[in-house]
């Protein structure tokens, strides 16, 4: 039985520029019904039909889980990415019909926590928008530390400050404001859970310091929102389906497999959920592993690849698909 999610037929109900890089998109159900309830930290996969090409990109739901009349996502424009965010910014207009997945949560709140300490970097703020709304509605104890490049790029910083006042602390890179991480991590009450979402470097830094300061691993939660990186084209043989495919420069391996009519299961398309894990039958070349799912040992062995984010350079690659 294949896993994966049910699809939702939606219409774009609003498109709102938030700042020079970020635009917010609102979706409602085409049939006028309520959308499924979700939990803070959940994402949906947005299907983008761009001519011949279909892109499937995950975005965190950022509205309140208590309001299911519409879903909202915020998309940061990435001028050197593979084009998904540019498509959203340039092509998506109010009234457009789109297809999104049911919500999936891979960055769930630990509801045992007596306090939720949240660290956001840049567009990594989006899952916390929903999580803070969920916690605030039920008197939950949280504190949010949010780092952004400049005040004008502090997406939703004003909204969060207005909603939660001193429970939100802002740090601006251009003013040399830095989170005093060690002090912050050393001064939390017992039962605190730590959540971090932002650039990889920030996640690694926070996880390392938390580990060094004695935080149990099960109290540290993180979400990488890495999109697949473009790279040199490469050829792949799919042994089970008997197909040979070419992965384009702007295409992920998973997208190329799907374009050939083979549908591996997936949930996150960002290298964290493990669903699309694929066995390597043989290879002659170098793997470019970009996932957070396989262990370092598995990366070295070259027996497995996560086609949603990882690539290959070399003479031949045969996969069990």
């Amino acid at each position: 039985m294949s896993t994966g999610t049910t699809k939702l037929d939606v219409v774009v109900s609003d498109v709102v520029p938030v700042n020079e890089l970020v635009t917010r998109f609102h979706f409602r159900r085409r049939d006028g019904q309520l959308l499924p309830t979700f939990s803070g930290g959940a994402h949906v996969v947005v299907e983008m039909r761009d001519g011949e090409r279909t892109r499937l990109n995950p975005y965190s739901l950022m509205g309140s889980p208590l309001d299911t009349r519409e879903y909202t996502i915020s998309v940061r424009r990435d001028d050197v990415g593979r084009g998904g965010s540019l498509f959203m910014h340039r092509n998506v207009r109010p009234g457009m019909e789109m297809v999104i997945s049911y919500p999936v949560n891979l960055f769930s709140l630990d509801l045992r926590a007596r306090k939720h300490l949240m660290l956001a970097g840049g567009i990594g703020i989006t899952p916390f928008m929903a999580q803070t709304a969920q916690l605030a509605a039920d008197g939950g104890n949280f504190e949010l530390h949010y780092t952004c490049r400049t005040a004008s790029l502090g997406t939703y910083a004003d909204v969060l400050r207005e909603r939660y006042d001193r429970r939100v602390r802002l740090y601006h890179d251009d003013r040399d404001e830095r989170i005093e991480l060690d002090r912050l991590l050393s001064s939390q009450p017992l039962g605190t859970h730590l959540y971090v979402c932002g650039p990889s470097g920030m996640i690694d830094w926070v996880r390392d310091r938390a580990a060094a300061l004695g935080w149990p691993a099960e109290t540290v939660h993180f979400e990488h929102f890495a999109a697949p990186q473009p790279g040199a084209p490469f050829d792949v043989t799919l042994a089970v389906s008997g197909k040979t495919i070419r992965v384009g420069e702007q295409q992920s391996l998973l997208e190329a497999v799907e374009a050939a009519g083979v549908d591996p299961p997936y949930l996150c398309r960002g290298g964290v959920c493990g669903q699309c894990e694929t066995n390597v039958i043989s290879s002659d070349g170098k793997f470019i592993h970009n996932d957070h799912w396989l262990s370092e040992e598995e990366h070295r062995c070259g027996k497995k690849i996560m086609p949603c984010v990882s690539r290959f350079e070399g003479r031949s690659l045969v996969l069990e698909r």
Partner: protein, 311 residues
Amino acid sequence: MYAVNIEPHVLGPKGSVLENLIDVDEHYVAEMQDRALVLAEDPLRCQSLPHMTLAGWDLLELLMEQQALGYPEHFTLTRDGDRWRWINRPLGIDDTFTFGDVSTLPYGPMEYITRQSQGDFCILDQRDGNLWMDAGMVTTQADWSLDFDIGMNFFEWHAPVPLAHEKGIFVRALKFLTNIQQGKPARRLNWTMTVNPRLDTSPENYHKWGPDRTTVTPENVGDKVHLRVELQSFWRLPRSNGIVFPIRCYLIKMDELVTQPKWARRLHRVIRDLPEELVNYKGLTRYRPTLLEWLSKLDDGSPTSAGFGPD
């Protein structure tokens, strides 16, 4: 010995237990009264750790929606924002409450709705790549205890199951269950046998039902021994991101089961070929020879057709 029998939990044929995703049948009122009696004697059959209240509301919504959808003549749910009205005609209940506000219900949300829903319910919290038995209403179980298992993870509460750990079954099952998605429930069947048509065969009450196993004779086996089939379904809960695992028990006595020659032949072969470890785990050891002897007379050796439906 073990079969992978997980499939999507979708609607089945009219008149079957799968006609609705949450089955309500002619035993509804009696089973709810039985549950109330068990709870009065032993309140620990219903437990919910403090962080599981939100999951309880998720379950309340699921069961009210499904029961009202499948049986509108018996149940009606009216929602006006947070203000919900729930009418349960068979039990004479008409309550208006505020969704999310525990002070507006006579019990916590999980206990409230599972006192009105057939079957046991385990609510599993998902964290650290595992599932944790952190809440449940368990009054009709086959010899396991919520009070003992509460707070355990998936591997811990399955520890007593023989032969399955070595085969890696629980690692694969956990991987499957942690990826169950909203709107896509799954199901499986499980079975054991029970002497006399008892729903509550709990360790807490072993002194009441355990001795029944010594009472099976060649004369009464058809009436006393029951096949117990559990319809287990798995649902992702939307607000809490937990999983609810309803376990609905159905009993059929041997005399009724053997009215279908295919079932008689197959059960004989299953009981005959069951590994010793599973015979012991299922608690059949003492009366298995009597049962086998009785069933063997109904097995003419001809093949059985695929599937569990009668021929």
